[in-house]
């Protein structure tokens, strides 16, 4: 079922169709949350919160509005907001943001060497992404981790495509700089 069929099904019977929405989008929403927050436990809560908010919102919308939803951009926007709230609450309690290993990347014993290196690289990149200022982090995550187009991102974030292109460009530059700084540190260590 594609998203157009899905939004029509949601407009007809929310409870019957919502599980399909959840199962179709749970991986990407979790990935967005994980990369915005840098922490698997918080990402799970934000992903769940995203779907709870979506369910309640659709329950309030009339059928026409539901049929008109761009589900990908709409869910991404909810996830971004939920992650922002979560991060704000966390930063009140703990200033630093450690990147805990994800379930997929936590088992380190017995894996071939290239995998271990790739995983370490991915963890480092994940840490750098989570450490970006929010105005660059959100566009970077939506553009690359979630593969949203610039028009979809503009819709989700309420920013112009030009602004978003500039923010993605700047975000990539910051990530490159962080990567280079790490390399230099390793060489001199």
């Amino acid at each position: 079922m594609d998203d157009r069929d899905l939004s029509r099904a949601l407009a007809t019977d929310l409870d019957a169709a919502f599980e399909t929405l959840l199962r179709c989008h749970v991986d990407r929403i979790y990935a967005i949350a994980l990369r915005l927050l840098g922490n698997a436990a918080d990402a799970e809560e934000v992903a769940q919160d995203t779907f709870v908010r979506a369910y309640r919102a659709i329950g309030r919308y009339d059928a026409r509005r539901i049929r008109g939803l761009d589900l990908r951009a709409w869910l991404a926007a909810i996830a971004v907001n939920a992650a922002r709230n979560r991060r704000r609450r966390l930063s009140e309690r703990q200033p630093a943001l450690p990147l805990t290993p994800t379930a997929a990347g936590s088992a380190s014993v017995g894996l071939p060497e290239p995998d271990a290196i790739r995983r370490a690289e991915a963890e480092r990149l994940g840490r750098h992404v989570a450490g970006l200022p929010e105005r660059y982090r959100v566009p970077i995550v939506l553009r690359y981790v979630d593969d949203l187009s610039f028009p979809e991102m503009a819709q989700a974030l309420g920013r112009s495509e030009g602004t978003l292109r500039a923010q993605v460009h700047r975000g990539l530059a910051l990530l490159r700089a962080a990567h280079d700084a790490d390399e230099r540190e390793e060489l001199t260590a």
Partner: protein, 262 residues
């Protein structure tokens, strides 16, 4: 785009990881689109409690083989076994079963009619250790003639014990049906709660429905905690409320006897 950009972008795309397998199922439970169930200790032994993010949805006996099939027929949502009943729910249920009527237990009663919900909420008002006739519930919810419908609604109570439908009995002293395993289980639950069933049966056999005190001139249901405080030498027995009223007694404001209660 430079080669480094392409590598960086590819590496960013590799940061997609699948969600933990349990996340979708847990979210469905949170939304109330699926339920979990687990065992819980209770005064009548282990019971089974089903719940979702909206509240407790179904209660049954742990030794019944039909819990899941009854849930499928009556509720119809996906149901899976959970480890334990969530701590806050479990403690609220235990406190409620111990007689604390102030404790709030969220209930998921979707699918029930307004009438059923009114009956169940009324049953919640009956204190532990007391019983009321079906007709009393009917009168209290503003449908004094719907005594059979009250019985039917209580029989369909999806959350027995939590909503104490066992505290509603027949006016003639017979204990009446019980959705959680028939009259024997109902008797056991009421005895556990301190109801003097033999005393009730004895009164009913003599046609006695109400008791009063000749000092206060107040008439009560026999299990009302005010009636139970009356000393034997002051206890007066009545076959009907009109008989009590004719004798100069007024109905208790706590247990509110009604003339039509059968």
């Amino acid at each position: 785009m430079t080669a480094t950009d392409a590598i960086l972008e590819a590496a960013l795309r590799d940061l997609r990881v699948p969600a933990p397998p349990a996340l979708a199922d847990r979210t469905l439970v949170e939304l109330g689109l699926a339920d979990r169930f687990a065992d819980l200790d209770s005064p009548i032994g282990p019971i089974v409690v089903a719940w979702n993010g909206r509240g407790v949805s179904f209660v049954g006996r742990a030794d019944e083989a039909t819990f899941e099939s009854r849930f499928a027929t009556e509720i119809g949502r996906p149901l899976s076994r959970g480890d334990t009943v969530p701590a806050t729910l479990a403690s609220a249920i235990r406190r409620r079963l111990a007689g604390d009527r102030r404790v709030r237990i969220p209930l998921d009663l979707r699918g029930a009619t307004e009438f059923q919900v009114a009956v169940w909420l009324k049953a919640l008002e009956i204190p532990r250790g007391e019983v009321r006739p079906y007709g009393w519930v009917a009168a209290e919810i503003g449908h004094p003639r719907a005594v059979r419908a009250v019985g039917s609604a209580l029989g369909h109570n999806p959350v027995p014990l939590v909503v104490p439908c066992h505290r509603v009995v027949r006016g003639d002293g017979a204990i009446g049906q019980y959705s959680m395993g028939g009259p024997e289980v109902k008797r056991l639950v009421l005895s556990t709660e301190g109801v003097d069933l033999d005393g009730l049966v004895e009164l009913a056999a003599g046609g006695i429905r109400y008791v009063g005190s000749d000092t206060t001139r107040i008439v009560c249901h026999p299990t009302c905690h005010h009636a139970r405080r009356v000393q034997a030498r002051h206890l007066v027995r009545f076959r009907s409320l009109p008989e009590a009223v004719a004798a100069g007694y007024r109905p208790c404001r706590i247990c509110r006897p009604v003339a039509s209660a059968a």
